[in-house]
């Protein structure tokens, strides 16, 4: 049979046409590849535009095209678009091949002649390949309606509530004893300064009481199997040593517990908790966890005060970690961030100079329910500062630490400045590189701070020292910085220094990423499917990211992403089934020699062996289409749809322009 192939070369405005002579490529394809079946070759400004697509559909209908090659951008961007175009015109979508002459040519090369030549080779490769395409039907697998949300910060909470309210089940897994995340540690939120607890607590309670949400705190995901629509997750429920059936959260146990422990997590080291505890009064769920590592009973074998006093007998020292298996269709990762360790910049004196604080410490210091009841005081716990310096960009925008901007620190620092000014009347100095206030109401907040009389010094702080040179400096912290707007080095004596530390990916982000089959950028944030057009999806179908895991962002942005991820998940749930690329391996029984070489190669155990017939067979539901078995089969009995030997060899043939050579040998 003969194929009728249409070739469509995209200008992409000047993105491609600026470097590649697209008209020439189209002309060349029409002439040189005519005898390979190319019946029409066009170039067009924007192939992906509706007009561009109509062009293809028209040709399919009128010229009866049986194959389509589009030379434009990366298949990861527009393969679907052009497959749909074919589908609309009644051509099987898988008979379309998209080759990239933008990412792979015009954007990475500068020599127009060479770029045009390369584009021709790539088109030729596409044409040869498409000849071998077969009509395929996407695999349809049912979507399990439940969703797993990992991380109970504001992004995760938002996502969970959106889905649960829509009537579908959600499993929320949180590593800490309570949900709430970092937002629960804050007192005020910028720029409106509404109380963090007041707006967060109701949402936390909703999650706790929601009939559609199974809340698993003090728990971690340890394993994930399966694929979009059908994931199996294993969750380790760490032993709480509290029977949640009986516990009423009355709080007597932690009142009676004699063991005080410094709380490095929620109180950022500023406050203490007991060995049995809930991190904060509004914690959800309300029942506590017993921290075995610090419990006197587990250390010394005696005490059991909590057990003695518990009115409902809910304490259970024998409790062990449990592992739960859950089936979910999709997963949303909202695991949040760690604070940059300011000890890595000793020039700022944290740990050496008592009154240098981290931003999280200050959040607790200024929090009404914090260790000082919201009083902003020095480490001694009583003295209010008369002057405070706030250092921006600590660990951010710095090649020695993190090159990226942490995006929240400017506004956070302005918030701090306001709180200090409001509660202590102290002189406040903000030392910044640039003030970045790019959201609704942010610039106005900056203006407000200026009016309040906060001092703004444009310069990255060089060091914080206690080495005074003058009587005024004696006993103070001296902030040494160049005031770049006047071009002078300044030494500013203050009582308190707040380091506005940057946001970092979770220390275990990489491992967690692997667990869910998604990868991190160079900075360690999870990579979204598209930086602009698909910020919450990942390269792995059915796994979404929301909040700071995707990159530094503030509360409004995190909430937006939580909702967005939820919407994406709901969309799939309501389709009830998901179409999957029909890229699968199949074994030709007649050719299979039963050597079983492929059996061991498959990481998904998709290949089973029929002892009776002495042949292997691929289970399409389990096969992920990597093609390793295809490459390995010595009998050539295994073929991979979409990436068959014929398709790849033919593309190679075309890329090397051997097809052209051969045609020259064979006279027309």
């Amino acid at each position: 049979m003969t194929e009728k192939i249409g070739v469509y070369v995209c200008h992409c405005g000047t993105n491609i046409a600026g470097i590649v002579d697209v008209e020439d490529v189209a002309k060349w394809a029409a002439e040189k590849l005519q005898r390979r079946g190319v019946v029409i070759a066009r170039d067009y400004k924007f192939m992906c535009s509706s007009l561009g697509q109509e062009l293809i559909e028209k040709d399919i209908k009128e010229l009866g095209l049986t194959r389509v090659v589009v030379a434009a951008c990366s298949p990861h961007l527009h393969e679907k678009t052009f497959r749909n175009a074919c589908k609309n015109a009644g051509l099987n979508p898988y008979l379309c091949e998209l080759v990239s002459i933008r990412e792979q040519v015009s954007w990475v090369h500068t020599d127009k002649v060479v770029a045009t030549e390369k584009s021709k080779a790539i088109v030729s490769g596409g044409v040869e390949r498409v000849i071998w395409h077969e009509p395929l039907e996407p695999l349809r697998v049912p979507i399990h309606p439940a969703t797993l949300v990992v991380g109970g910060g504001i992004a995760g909470i938002q996502a969970a509530l959106e889905i649960a309210d829509a009537g579908y089940h959600v499993y929320m897994v949180e590593r800490e004893p309570s949900i709430g995340g970092h937002m629960a540690q804050f007192d005020k939120t910028f720029p409106t300064l509404d109380c963090s607890a007041c707006i967060l607590t109701p949402k936390m309670v909703d999650v706790g009481n929601h009939p559609n949400i199974t809340l698993l705190t003090w728990a971690e995901v340890t394993n994930v199997d399966g694929y979009v629509g059908n994931f199996q997750a294993t969750i380790r429920q760490k032993a709480r040593c509290v029977n949640t059936e009986l516990c009423t959260g009355c709080g007597i146990c932690w009142e009676k517990c004699p063991k005080k422990v410094i709380d490095d997590v929620f109180e950022a080291g500023l406050g203490k908790r007991k060995a049995i505890y809930t991190p904060f009064p509004q914690a959800v769920p309300r029942y506590p966890v017993l921290d075995k590592a610090n419990c006197t009973y587990f250390l010394k074998g005696t005490c059991k005060a909590c057990e003695k006093f518990c009115p409902t007998g809910a304490i259970d020292f024998t409790q062990q970690d449990e592992f739960l298996q859950i089936d979910v269709g999709q997963i949303i990762l909202a695991t949040g961030w760690d604070l940059f360790d300011v000890r890595r910049m000793p020039q700022y004196g944290y740990g050496r100079l008592a009154n240098v604080f981290t931003s999280l410490e200050f959040e607790r210091l200024s929090n009404a329910s914090g260790p000082t009841g919201g009083k902003i005081v020095l480490r001694d716990g009583v003295t209010p500062p008369a002057s405070v310096a706030i250092v921006h960009c600590v660990g951010s925008r710095d090649k020695n630490y993190n090159p990226y901007c942490s995006s929240i620190c400017c506004m956070q620092s302005l918030k701090f400045a306001h709180l200090v000014h409001e509660r202590t009347g102290a002189e406040v100095y903000n030392c910044y590189i640039d003030i970045r206030t790019p959201s609704k109401g942010y610039e106005e907040f900056y203006q407000r701070l200026l009016e309040e009389g906060t001092h703004f010094i444009r310069g990255k702080v060089a060091e914080v020292t206690n080495a005074y040179r003058t009587p005024e400096e004696e006993g103070k912290l001296i902030v040494q910085v160049e005031d770049t707007l006047i071009g002078k080095q300044r030494r500013i004596p203050v009582d308190m220094v707040i380091l506005s530390a940057g946001l970092e990916p979770r220390h275990d982000a990489k491992e967690v990423g692997r667990l869910f089959g998604i990868s991190c950028s160079a900075d360690g944030w999870y990579i979204e499917r598209h930086p602009k057009l698909d910020p919450v999806a990942t390269m792995t179908d059915g796994v979404y990211i929301a909040g700071v895991v995707q990159g530094p962002k503030d509360i409004p942005a995190s909430v937006a992403q939580g909702a967005a991820a939820a919407a994406r998940a709901l969309g799939k749930i309501q389709q009830k089934e998901v179409a999957m690329e029909p890229i699968r391996a199949t074994i030709n029984e007649d050719k299979c020699s039963g050597c079983r070489m492929c059996n061991t190669l498959c990481p998904f155990n998709a290949i089973l062996f029929h002892e009776d017939k002495m042949v292997s067979e691929v289970n399409p539901a389990l096969c992920q289409g990597c093609g390793t078995c295809v490459a390995a089969c010595p009998a050539g009995a295994i073929s991979g749809t979409g990436f068959s030997n014929e398709q790849i060899l033919a593309q190679l043939d075309g890329l090397l322009l051997l097809n052209i050579k051969r045609l020259e040998e064979i006279p027309a």
């Binding site: 020039q347 960009c393 925008r397 710095d398 090649k399 020695n400 590189i433 444009r458 310069g459 990255k460 702080v461 060089a462 060091e463 040494q480 910085v481 160049e482 005031d483 770049t484 071009g487 002078k488 080095q489």
Partner: protein
């Protein structure tokens, strides 16, 4: 023909093992100037110098004493958030002005460095008595006496050699240097 390189590129070319022109990546944060122990004696802060270089203000830059006041303590270099080797850039400017003989009037640095090198080229070793007093007059008579006093003290404590030291294979040594720069250039 190739376009004349900008002043910034000229300076960048004098930086050892620098790819392209690192000065261009300066975000003017002032960490260098904030860290500099000598900054208050400089006509312009190091940050400004980089800004001026990037702005192509060649003459203004060469007129400053900034880079001759650089103590090469590298505090700026280790802290620069853009990874610019600022101390090295100051060296580059020193060399630049010495070659072109266009440094600020009345600076001692250039002539001192030159004599220092001359001494080495002559003897292979440095010799304090020759160095210090040569310039000390430029600080006025009081300085001279205090310096002299110091010298005598050092002498009494046996911390100043009476004769300048020399290395043994001096001839080879000089031929070696001749390979790198015309001895005439420094003698």
């Amino acid at each position: 023909m190739a376009p004349k390189p900008s002043f910034g590129d000229e300076v960048a070319n004098l930086l050892h093992a620098a790819e392209g022109n690192p000065l261009r990546t300066c975000i003017q944060c002032g960490t260098c100037s904030g860290s500099c122990p000598v900054v208050k004696f400089m006509d312009q802060t190091p940050r400004r110098i980089i800004g001026m270089i990037n702005a192509g203000l060649k003459d203004e830059v060469l007129k400053t004493n900034t880079f001759w006041y650089c103590a090469s303590c590298y505090q700026c270099t280790v802290r620069c958030p853009s990874g610019i080797d600022i101390a090295e850039a100051m060296y580059a400017l020193k060399r630049y002005t010495m070659w072109k003989n266009q440094y600020k009037e009345g600076l001692i640095g250039p002539t001192f460095s030159e004599t220092f090198v001359k001494t080495i080229v002559r003897s292979g070793r440095s010799y304090e008595p020759l160095l210090a007093p040569t310039y000390i007059f430029s600080y006025g008579i009081r300085e001279f006496f205090s310096e002299a006093l110091n010298a005598t003290n050092l002498m009494l404590k046996g911390r100043i050699p009476i004769l300048p030291p020399r290395i043994k294979r001096l001839e080879n040594f000089r031929r070696m240097i001749a390979h790198i720069i015309p001895i005439g250039g420094v003698e």
